[in-house]
């Protein structure tokens, strides 16, 4: 777990540990969702990172808007070969940050020709309607109220899926009705809107894990949350999901 304030590219080190290669690793597989998370709070960064990884995303976490722009290469003129391979599928950023706010970061991303298509999600601990509206007007895809929960991240994951092309012909059934923009209000115990449920949810609506993912992903099967909405593992390539509780209390059912 990264404890410095800089960039933590955890996925990279995991890829290296399974002999995929070092920094010169091949381009990210189109199946793998790569999320850039931006938050000045270390605790929140660790939590959002884990939430994303447990839903099978690769994560790069940075501690400021400037570092985010640096990582994306938006703020520098020179093109880098590395950047051609940079694939960011989602940017999730805190709103209140010193220096550059999440809103300012959002604007810069939407001004960039390379990254304006990337969905940007704003997180905030404050449920301020004007703030939410302003972000949505500026092009934010969604607005999450902190503290962020697994259900929130899963919902994000679901609407990302429909944009991810499956390259190996292993077609997944994608949700027919993609959910309209929904705002995550602070109703901690209410379930997320069920519009992400596909009627045939026995088909996975998230990418099947590639062999790389199976060996390097910390969690083979994303757990079902209490709402049992989307089955997030593919029957073909992963074992059936094991409820987390079972792993912890074998003798106390």
């Amino acid at each position: 777990m990264a404890s410095d304030g800089g960039v933590s590219c955890l996925r990279r080190s995991e890829m290296m540990s399974v002999g995929i290669g070092g920094i010169d690793s091949p381009p990210l597989d189109v199946d793998e969702v790569h999320v850039l998370a931006v938050d000045d709070s270390l605790v929140d960064r660790i939590v959002i990172e884990r939430l994303l990884r447990i839903t099978s995303c690769k994560v790069t976490a940075v501690d400021s808007g400037w570092r985010a722009l640096e990582f994306l290469g938006i703020d520098n003129e020179k093109a880098s070969a590395e950047l051609d391979r940079l694939k960011v599928d989602l940017i999730i950023t805190d709103y209140c940050m010193p220096g550059m706010t999440g809103y300012e970061l959002l604007k810069k991303i939407k001004e960039s020709s390379s990254f304006r298509q990337v969905p940007v999600v704003i997180m905030s601990s404050e449920n301020v309607i004007t703030r939410i509206d302003r972000c949505l007007e500026e092009g934010a895809e969604d607005f999450l109220l902190k503290p962020v929960k697994l259900a929130d991240v899963k919902r994000l994951r679901n609407y990302l899926t429909r944009d991810v092309q499956v390259s190996n012909g292993n077609k997944r059934k994608l949700p027919e009705d993609s959910p309209p923009l929904t705002l995550s209000h602070d109703s901690s115990d209410s379930s997320p809107p069920p519009s992400t449920l596909s009627p045939d949810s026995s088909d996975s609506s998230s990418p099947p894990l590639s062999p790389v993912e199976i060996f390097s992903s910390p969690l083979l099967s994303p757990l079902d949350d209490e709402d049992d909405d989307v089955l997030t593992s593919s029957p073909e390539s992963t074992p059936s999901p094991v409820r987390r509780q079972k792993m912890r209390s074998p003798g106390l059912d």
């Binding site: 777990m1 404890s3 709070s41 270390l42 605790v43 929140d44 660790i46 939590v47 884990r50 939430l51 447990i54 209140c96 010193p98 601990s125 902190k146 503290p147 929960k149 697994l150 901690s188 115990d189 910390p218 969690l219 757990l223 949350d225 987390r244 509780q245 792993m247 912890r248 209390s249 074998p250 003798g251 106390l252």
Partner: protein, 154 residues
């Protein structure tokens, strides 16, 4: 103490923290993120929270002890503490921070001092309770047992 007894103690202890409002459902969210590949996730995040909070409380004490209190400095600290305590489910700390921010907004120095004391009180309480909880977990694991899942009807 027998393993089963230890596990029951842990469950009862954890439950009491929820019933007392010391922890809220966000703590359960963190527990859901822990698994055999990340077996210490909760204690790692909580430890970071403690380190962060110790620093913030120190800074707050210093800021409030100034002749002229700079609320532009005080408020961001409280905001930060509110955020991180909320993220780990330390409900009473978070609530104390909310009150604190109100007094900051009013630029009420006396009120802020009282709030800082309250925040510290709640913080040391949750710190103490969580450290006890982690010790109980360690004892169970050391005895070869598994941590029982929390079955809560919250």
């Amino acid at each position: 103490m027998e393993l089963v007894q230890m596990q029951k103690s842990l469950q009862d202890y954890t439950k009491s923290l929820f019933l007392d409002g010391v922890l809220d459902s966000q703590f359960l969210q963190l527990q859901q993120l822990q698994d055999e590949s990340n077996p210490d996730f909760v204690s790692q995040v909580v430890t970071l929270f403690f380190q962060d909070s110790d620093r913030i409380l120190n800074d707050l004490s210093l800021s409030l002890d100034q002749q002229v209190v700079d609320f532009k400095k005080v408020d961001p600290h409280v905001h930060q503490l509110k955020g991180s305590s909320s993220s780990i489910g330390a409900q009473r700390v978070k609530n104390a921070c909310v009150v604190f921010r109100n007094f900051c907004e009013q630029q009420n120095v006396e009120g802020c001092h009282r709030c800082l004391q309250q925040v510290k009180k709640e913080y040391y309480l949750v710190k103490n309770r969580l450290e006890t909880l982690f010790k109980l977990e360690q004892q169970i694991v050391a005895s070869g047992g598994m941590i029982p899942a929390m079955e809560l009807g919250f």
